[in-house]
Amino acid sequence: MKKLLRLLLICFALPVMASNVQQMTLSNGMKVVVLTDHRSPVVMTQLWYNVGSSDERLGETGISHFLEHMMFRGTQAYAPGEFATMISSRGGEDNAFTSRDATVYYLFMHKQYLPLMLKMEADRMKNLLLSTQSINTERKVVLEERTGRVEDSPLGYTYERVNALAFTGNPYQTPIVGFASDIKQVTPGELKRWYQQYYVPNNATLVIAGDVDPQDAFQKARSCFEGITPQALPLKKDYPYVANPGRVDSTISRLGQIQKFVVAYRVPSLLTAKNKKDAYALVLLSTMLGGMKSSILDRGLIRDRGLATSAYTQYNLLAKYPTDLKISLQPVEGVDHDYMVRMVRNYMNNIAATLSSDDLLRRAKAVIHAQYVYAQDSLRSQSRIVGKIGSLGLPLSFKSDYLSHIDAVSEQDIQRVIIEYLVADNMTEVWFQPRSEVAYNV
């Protein structure tokens, strides 16, 4: 009886995990995605503008991020500060983030406020003030943010250098927050132009997620946004995948306390891979290398050899442009730079062999399967996933097909991807060597 009950419970759970997502496109080109989840009387809206640091050139770096800041500085209808008060005094959360490929605004409130949330997002899509005075004040805030994230952060600084070296000729070369000189010089005119060009309905995907009725949500979205006129978008350039022409090996000497070591391999993303299977293989490879407790690097470098105290990997499957597989290592104190670099290179040269002697691939698939289920617990995660899919122009079925693509990756696929991408010529290695200026006693 208990088993039957359990089966029934699983059946009821399935609809939450299966097709609870619907999509439509408004007449002005704006995509609307509705994700239903009735577990809690809340709703999240996420508005994805298809513009980020990868659309920027030197001289205007950080402008997408700066504009994101300005979106909280008032519209014609809501005075500066009023937006924040309206949301927070109703127990809601409002925030945003800028990434390389998108700028995303999200609101998270009790479901009764959905009309207000949509009204406010539609308003700031069209009517942002962008006053010179508030731009100049916010400029200082953005510079503070950059200082905290980069100049004063040894790890942040290291990543900025890694990207500058690994992504030559690729729009991921520049930092999302922008360079200080560009932040200081961006003009109100430039911000206005960026806003007018990119903050248009045909460049946007709206996600409405939570305790909503899809038809009602679509209707509300239509009434708020369908009247906004679309604009022709600036031309987007193509950046096909190109491997590095040779290994780049560099050392940063800078104030800090601990060494760091980052290795980046240039690899294609799903959208830029000639063989889509390669991209899914890279997801698994990233997990096998450093994305789970029993990964090659966790086992080999941390537990067995005690050369590092942490190791993790990153690969962005859904990057718009060719991307990287990054390995970030925290070396143990006092380890010799040359020795560590040699050990890591040695490991990378031998992963193909390690693979076949261990059931890493099976475990990586188990981890990814479980993570997919765990992500259902978070409305934030679910919204981000469908927002990203919509923003990239991928079909909704990408989400439900994901696990079967993962499962289809074989050991041969992994071997192929290692041979093609994880080669010495395709490496960028950056070592951070700390210098101490002020003696601090602990």
């Binding site: 359990r6 699983i10 759970a13 939450v16 995990m17 577990r39 809690s40 009387p41 809340v42 909280f72 500066p80 500060g81 008060t85 927070s88 005094s89 127990g91 959360e93 925030n95 945003a96 800028t98 009790h110 004040t137 916010e138 400029r139 200082k140 805030v141 510079l143 503070e144 943010e145 200082t147 905290g148 004063d152 040894p154 800090g256 306390q257 601990i258 789970m292 029993s294 966790d298 086992r299 537990r303 005690g306 105290t309 925290q330 143990v332 104190e333 099976r362 475990r363 188990a366 399967h369 479980a370 993570q371 289920v373 765990y374 259902q376 617990d377 978070s378 200026e437 601090y440 602990v442």
Partner: protein, 432 residues
């Protein structure tokens, strides 16, 4: 604004109204307290066990509690660290263990299907039930913990709070950082984690919770299996901490950095103090995580001095710390401090307006539902509540208690704190 604000994990409001009234509690045969919230919407179970085994119990061996918690799951009888990692990953289960100031928490997240979950729990049991530390494991942990200490030395705000706690709680178990320091870590002996573990990782010093797709019957069985692998033991001593006024109330820590960390702090209230509700409302109005707060309005929106600034009460079991914290370019640190002090003076003299209090209350009430809309967050909050021995109706009464606060209570508690001694100012940065 691209900052991501973290949730208040010690406050609980479950997924929906019905769940508040359905916390099931029982005790195992050897005295371990257990709480269960069933939620069968997703095939996930979150398990948390908290022990009163935080850094406050380090004694002279600063960092010992953290080290002991980290060693758990690194090895078990007949299972090496590599084998444990392999097995958890094969199940897709996520295991972690860490210590804070008062408590240590061991966590497990697993898929709920019977076969997977029973294997995950078996590993969970083995990882916690017996700690055997090899020299190799120990050395690895010493190395790792030392790197975490060094990493904190790169961050001005971490250094600021370290200096603050040392000054405010000197001579008490709250003075030293949870991680310890490089010298204290190097002095910990191989056998010490074992001794610490035997004293504090016992049934009567633990609170166990299950949240998710698990029945009461199964929870009882798993709880019994787990707890009887541990000795009965007895609870940790209740922590009592008396803060003193330090000799210096302005602390300058020279540090080579572009941005200084500025902290202004007073004694706050503890986790069980009835004034905590009122202080949360007041702190949120003053410097909560929204551009609408007073500190953001002044330091960021008006003057552009900061990217982030906050006012909060860090509630510990025995006491609390109320602090305002900001990071700003070093040349601006005096200006930022002046603005902070004048806002504190203003609130200390005039209190908060009715609108500010009303908005803040509504923010906190709404925020609970948002913060606790995931099983994982509910589990974290539930284990903290059980570990700290909050009343059974803490969950169901929280928003009611916030709603029922009178404006004079909110203003009163904040003014009392602002006018109290000591007031400590810490600046970490270039000495200008």
């Amino acid at each position: 604004m691209c900052k991501w604000f973290l949730v208040l994990t010690f406050i609980v409001l479950p997924l929906h109204a019905a769940m508040v009234d359905h916390i099931q509690r029982f005790t195992t045969s050897n005295g371990m307290k257990v709480a269960l919230i069933e939620n069968h919407d997703l095939p996930i179970v979150d398990v948390r066990v908290a022990f009163h085994a935080g850094s406050a119990y380090d004694g002279e061996a600063h960092g010992l509690a953290y080290m002991t918690a980290s060693l758990i799951g690194d090895g078990a009888p007949n299972l090496s660290a590599n084998q444990i990692a392999n097995q958890f990953d094969s199940l897709g289960a996520v295991f972690s263990s860490t210590a804070r100031r008062d408590i240590a928490v061991v966590s497990l997240r697993s898929l709920s299907n019977a076969n997977t979950f029973s294997q995950a729990m078996s590993l969970f049991d083995k990882s916690i039930a017996k700690l055997s530390v090899t020299p190799h494991m120990f050395q690895r942990e010493v190395s790792s913990q030392s790197q975490l200490v060094r990493s904190a030395m790169e961050r001005p705000m971490a250094l600021a709070y370290k200096a603050l706690y040392q000054a405010l709680f000197a001579g008490t178990p709250y003075a030293h950082p949870v991680l310890g320091d490089l010298r204290s870590i190097s002095k910990i002996g191989l056998d010490q984690p074992q001794v610490f573990y035997r004293r504090y990782y016992v049934a009567k010093n633990a609170a166990l919770v299950f949240v998710g797709d698990i029945s009461l019957q199964d929870a009882k069985a798993y709880a019994e299996q787990f707890s009887t692998m541990l000795p009965t033991g007895h609870p940790a001593k209740t922590m009592i901490v008396h803060a003193k006024t330090p000799a210096k109330t302005t602390i300058n820590v020279p540090f080579s950095t572009d941005q200084s960390a500025v902290v202004v702090a007073m004694l706050g209230v503890s986790k069980t103090d009835p004034d905590r509700y009122a202080l949360n409302v007041a702190a949120n109005a003053l410097g909560g995580p929204t551009l609408a707060s007073m500190l953001y309005g002044s330091l960021r929106e008006k003057h552009g001095l900061v990217y982030s600034v906050s006012a909060s009460n860090r509630a510990l079991e025995a006491t609390g710390v109320f602090s305002v914290a900001a990071s700003t370019l070093s040349a601006q640190s005096i200006k930022a401090l002046t603005l902070i002090d004048s806002l504190l003076d203003q609130v200390g003299n005039n209190g908060l307006s009715d609108t500010q209090i009303k908005d803040s209350k509504q923010f906190l009430e709404g925020r609970f539902v948002l913060d606790l809309s995931t099983n994982a967050n509910v589990a974290d909050a539930l284990v903290a509540q059980e570990a700290y021995g909050f009343p059974d109706d803490y969950l169901s009464s929280y928003t009611r208690k916030i709603k029922s606060l009178k404006n004079e209570d909110v203003t009163g508690v904040l003014r009392k704190i602002i006018h109290s001694e000591p007031k400590i100012t810490v600046i970490v940065g270039k000495h200008e």
